[in-house]
């Protein structure tokens, strides 16, 4: 008696992610070469990062400081003692024939990251197994010179942290959420640009499949060559589907490395003649154990910059904005900073939020940079104030904003120059009202008789007569007053 054949829905995806993040130090992890991007090939090298005979590594203190900050941001416990280790393998972009990394005693362990919340409001958390320090390898360039591979060692020795998660994610969506939350947290700490497209953030994914309800893990495969967060999500789905198909047919998953082909939307096994690599890890004899004083570790946690969750809470309590607004405003540091500058310059928070989310970010989407946005926060605040006190109408404000983006002129100057200031002079307003009432006698009679519905019509007519310059609120008040007075 055999069981009915299982279906796709019977299986659960289990995902763990290994993320490498480049630290924003001025110099490399173990030598004084510059980490600056864009130099001529092999310009930023020295005996140490070229692995010349007799060269030795010396640890970059700033790299340690940044790595510890990242560990704190992920709520990981920083170890007072951690050990560097050699990860041995041969590849032309690995000059020493080993990478200095950490193995048995990493810099930090047992952290976590909140990646979202459940329907009932409880947080969805992914545990971070460890954060450790290591150095980057150089770059292999296969397509610049025909028939040869060119090696650029500028990147060799740039400091990295590797952030390893527990296999806590259960879907490609969760994996994507983890990566976005992780990128945001790292950005907020300032230790890295954490940009996958630029290479300062890299992802390797481990994925396995198991029957729903099972607690043991299935055999995992490692997926590499991922170039974007959406690529990670798609690759996980494709590989999971492949594994489930194998399992449904009664087969076994081979532990291997798969490469993601974004163009084809496929995964395929990496070409390797050997089985899983033996890196022959052993403690790095050229570097003493890293000893960090507990007081220093604690002090660096206290001086962390404000992290996303804390910022979200603050925006809710201080500015009393709705969650959807907060999500957008805290998505990255520059947007939040711009918004807060507008508020600090005197704008009412909700109005400021509306303008930033709706108008400023629209321009950003079309290519403007919020760091160098053509409308200064103080100018936008001024504009918002001009709407609030009816100096200009809200539609005029939009026009002024559009002009300010291009010309960088001040809103007040633009309003004056373009004749967009709302008219509030009582005589002028009375004049237009009289004119409209005179030109529309039957409407006027019915209005005077008490047909309040015609107020809007009359306001519209006055606006037209004033070519949009009349302050509609003032007109409204004036007409209402006349109606009451029976004029």
């Amino acid at each position: 008696m055999s069981d009915a054949k299982r279906t796709f829905a019977d299986y659960e995806m289990v995902v763990g992610l290994e993320v490498h993040v480049q630290l924003l130090t001025r110099t490399k992890a173990f030598c004084s070469c510059s980490t600056a991007y864009g130099a001529a090939p092999n310009a930023n090298t020295c005996p140490v990062c070229l692995a010349l005979p007799g060269a030795l590594p010396v640890l970059n203190e700033e790299a340690v400081r940044l790595a510890v900050i990242a560990a704190h941001a992920l709520e990981a416990t920083v170890n007072e003692t951690s050990i560097f280790a050699r990860k041995n393998y041969f590849y032309p972009d690995l000059p020493k024939g080993y990478q200095i990394s950490q193995f048995d005693k990493p810099l930090a362990e047992h952290g976590k990251l909140v990646i979202g919340s459940n329907a009932d409001g409880t947080p969805i958390t992914v545990r971070v197994t460890r954060v450790h320090m290591e150095e980057d390898a150089g770059k292999s360039v296969h397509d610049r010179y025909p028939g040869v591979t060119a090696i650029d060692l500028n990147r060799s020795g740039v400091p990295l942290i590797e952030i390893v998660s527990e296999p806590d994610m259960r879907s490609s969506v969760e994996a994507g959420a983890y990566l976005r939350a992780l990128k945001q947290v790292i950005e907020y700490t300032g230790v890295s640009d954490a940009n996958m497209e630029e290479g300062s953030l890299r992802v390797d994914a481990n994925v396995s499949a198991r029957l729903r309800g099972e607690t043991t893990l299935g055999t995992k495969t490692e997926v590499k060559n991922l170039n974007s967060f959406s690529g990670v999500e798609r690759a996980l789905e494709v590989e999971f589907a492949r594994q489930v198909e194998v399992l449904i047919e009664g087969g076994e998953i081979t532990q291997q490395t798969m490469l993601w082909d974004a163009d084809r939307g496929e995964v395929r096994p990496a070409r390797s003649k050997e089985g899983s690599h033996d890196y022959r890890y052993f403690p790095e004899p050229d570097l003493p154990p890293l000893q960090l004083a507990r007081a220093w570790i604690d002090q660096s946690r206290v001086s962390l910059p404000e992290l996303p969750n804390a910022k979200r809470t603050r925006f809710a309590t201080v500015y009393m904005l709705p969650p959807t607004d907060i999500e957008v405003l805290t998505a990255n540091l520059p947007t939040g900073a711009y918004f807060e500058s507008v508020v600090k310059a005197g704008a009412e928070p909700k109005a400021a939020a509306n303008w930033v989310i709706r108008d400023v970010l629209q321009e950003v989407k079309s290519g403007a940079s919020i760091d160098t946005f053509p409308v200064e926060p103080s100018s936008l605040a001024k504009l918002i104030g001009m709407v609030a006190d009816s100096t200009v109408s809200s539609s005029a404000a939009k026009t002024i904003f559009a002009i300010a983006v291009k010309s960088r002129d001040l809103p007040a100057d633009i309003a004056k120059r373009e004749g967009l200031l709302q008219e509030r002079n009582e005589d002028a307003l009375a004049g237009w009202v009289d004119q409209v009432l005179a030109e529309n006698p039957d409407v006027a009679i019915r209005f005077r008789a008490g047909d309040k519905k015609l107020l809007g019509v009359l306001v519209g007519l006055v606006m037209k007569a004033s070519k949009g310059r009349a302050d509609p609120k003032a007109i409204n008040q004036l007409l209402s007053a006349r109606a009451t007075a029976g004029e």
């Binding site: 005996p47 010349l52 005979p53 030795l56 004899p285 050229d286 003493p288």
Partner: protein, 461 residues
Amino acid sequence: MSTSAVSAVRDAFERMAKVDAGPTGLNCILWTDEGRALDDAAAVDAIPSSLALASMPFVAKDNIATTHLQTTCGSRILAGYVSPYEATVVTRLRDAGAVLVGKSNMDEFAMGSSNEHSAWGPVLNPVDRTRVPGGSSGGSAASVAAGIVRIALGSETGGSVRQPASYCGIVGVKPTYGRVSRFGLVAFASSLDQVGVFGATVQDAAVALEVIAGRDVRDATSADCPVDRYAAAATADLKGVVIGKPREYFPSSLDPRITKLCDDALDALRARGAEVRDVSLPHTDLAIPAYYIIAPAEASSNLARFDGVRYGLRVEAKGLREMYESTRTRGFGPEVTRRILLGTYVLSAGYYDAYYKKAQEVRTLIARDFREVFESGVHLLFTPTTPSPAFEFGAKSDPYDMYLNDIFTATANLAGVPAMSVPIGNIDGLPVGGQLLARHFDEQTMFRGAFALEADRAGKP
């Protein structure tokens, strides 16, 4: 020192010719440039000052990085390689007025105890040219023994300075691990390597060590410990000095003639007021097994950079893997190959715990032996340096026999303590060395004992 640098350097080159330091003779000096050396000497002479090593010619082992002269480590894989930077120890000697006159031959990548394993041919012992000078710093030892220079730089991992010093009848010093910068010393086993010095006399070695010792920011394992005035370590007597005689270094199988020379040396030290005590270093017999796991393991990793990609030999081939294999097969000699394979094996998954990890644990026991003896009030240890004088070429063709040569020296490298060899006599005309070991960073007391031994030998055959 009233000799000018230029005349001292000229004398050195004359002596090289006289003893035939090149491939047709002793083969102790590999690379040299007389014109350049004379220019350097003239520059030293032009400075009106009293530098510590002014006008002292010296030779550096070929695994120490020098600009201009090649650094091949006795290997084909680095044939023709000229380092773009200079080792810290070379800079310090040159800043003190010394002049580099040549790079010396060595066992390939410092792996050997006889200098028979060099790609550039063996070095002959100047005392008896049918015998090995010892290794791996055989070329440096021979250069001093042949009178070409009074000081030479070598390197130690398991005895590669002390053993050739013993075989060639000169002084050889291994400093405390971390005492001298390794920046520019081509790594063999990083946790054991130290630059060592050879001296024609204890004084020569002492001055040279004083000059090169001290913290270097480019070597994270170099210690921030003040450097004493080793050249002034000699005292009128040794009253208050306690010298331990570890029984494990005087096995019943030891050549009785060596035992006699050692006992004579100890008598001489006693006569100067030192107290001699029997002590025990019980884990001594584990030193060779531990050493021959740890050293090859670290070497297998340190030598991975010799891959034909950036410098040195490259044998062009169809693909990457073939290029690696052809280059390293052609470039490395059999002893180096043997040790890389051994080292890779003991680090590999499934074997790491049983071999490398276990050997490092054993190492802590060896270090503890020394610590306990030194904490019991002993200042120095005295032992033979080698179990025999220099052997004949080809006498130790079995690698295992060769490895046993390090039996008295490897413990000091494993424990990191300073040790030196001083001539204590001859057997059948061949020199024999006695070894002094001291506490970490107490080279001062070690030299004090060495000066005493040397003074006692003055006038003796």
